[in-house]
Amino acid sequence: MDENLQGDSLDARLREEASYIDDAGFTAAVVRKLPAQRVRRSYRAAILLAVTAVASVVVYLLAGNSGFIAEAVTRVVFMPLSLIYLLAIGAGLLLMGLSVGAAISKTRGQRLR
């Protein structure tokens, strides 16, 4: 053995030492242990849209094709402006609170030790 073994040649020997390990069914074993596949995100969006559309049609039909939408719009139009502002601010705050809560719960538990 060369006593003046240079660092580079030692590194080269170390890399040679790390020979390729054949998969030999390892990947298949890992994949078998993965949790069941979730419904694809693209499918989920389509399913949600379809369910919403069907639900809207059902509600519309159950309401006897009445003009409940026009009624609601009229009610909003005749509301005092201050009340509309209050409702908008309230809805904004509620949405913000929900978003912050969702973001916190999502980031929690994502960090690896």
């Binding site: 053995m1 060369d2 006593e3 073994l5 660092g7 030692l10 590194d11 020997r13 170390l14 890399r15 030492e17 790390a18 390729y20 390990i21 054949d22 998969d23 390892f26 990947t27 298949a28 074993a29 890992v30 994949v31 242990k33 993965l34 596949q37 979730r38 694809r40 995100r41 693209s42 994502q110 960090r111 690896l112 030790r113």
Partner: protein
């Protein structure tokens, strides 16, 4: 065209694509299993169990991979954490007994069949030096990446690599001179 690690990770995150994750496992299984085999001193079965646990944890925590480091570096960190937990369970984290280490460094006590054997010389290194040498010299991580994997200061990694390499050179030179 082959997909990059980032593409495969995106597919797993977006569509929970098991095929994409299998591709990631295939691409990295050799280096992860190799590292773990060296860490557990060639207990192949234990190393493969830990490697499997590493990839399952990687799958569960894939959202926390932000792409700031290489995917392999991130995997090494998980693998090292798995190894440390296992070692803690088995109370082996302190490494091999120092007296045993000294005895094994003595060229007279080394099995002649093992002389010139770099793998054996590696096994004689204390755990912290062995790990640093394996990550930096064998797996090509930078000192900075290794410090993130091992969660220790950069200076400590540099010292451990330097000391580990010096000991390796001394072992190999001593065995070779007889």
């Amino acid at each position: 065209m082959a997909l990059t690690d980032a593409d495969l990770v995106a597919r797993v995150l977006l569509d929970d694509d098991h095929h994409a994750f299998a591709e990631l496992v295939r691409n990295h299984q050799s280096s992860v299993r190799g590292l773990l085999r060296q860490l557990v001193r060639a207990d192949v079965s234990l190393a493969d169990d830990l490697a499997q646990e590493t990839f399952l944890r990687a799958y569960k925590n894939l959202r926390s991979f932000r792409g700031e480091a290489r995917f392999s570096t991130w995997l090494y960190r998980i693998a090292y954490n798995c190894f440390r937990e296992e070692a803690r369970k088995r109370k082996e984290l302190v490494g091999i007994d120092e007296a045993q280490l000294e005895a094994e460094h003595d060229p007279q006590t080394v099995d002649p069949a093992l002389r010139h054997d770099l793998a054996h010389a590696l096994k004689l290194l204390p755990l912290h030096e062995r790990t640093a040498v394996l990550l930096c010299c064998q797996n090509g991580l930078s000192h900075d990446e290794a410090s993130r994997v091992l969660d220790i200061p950069l200076g400590t990694v540099k010292t451990n690599v330097l000391r580990g390499r010096e000991k390796l050179k001394r072992s190999l030179a001593a065995w070779g001179s007889n």
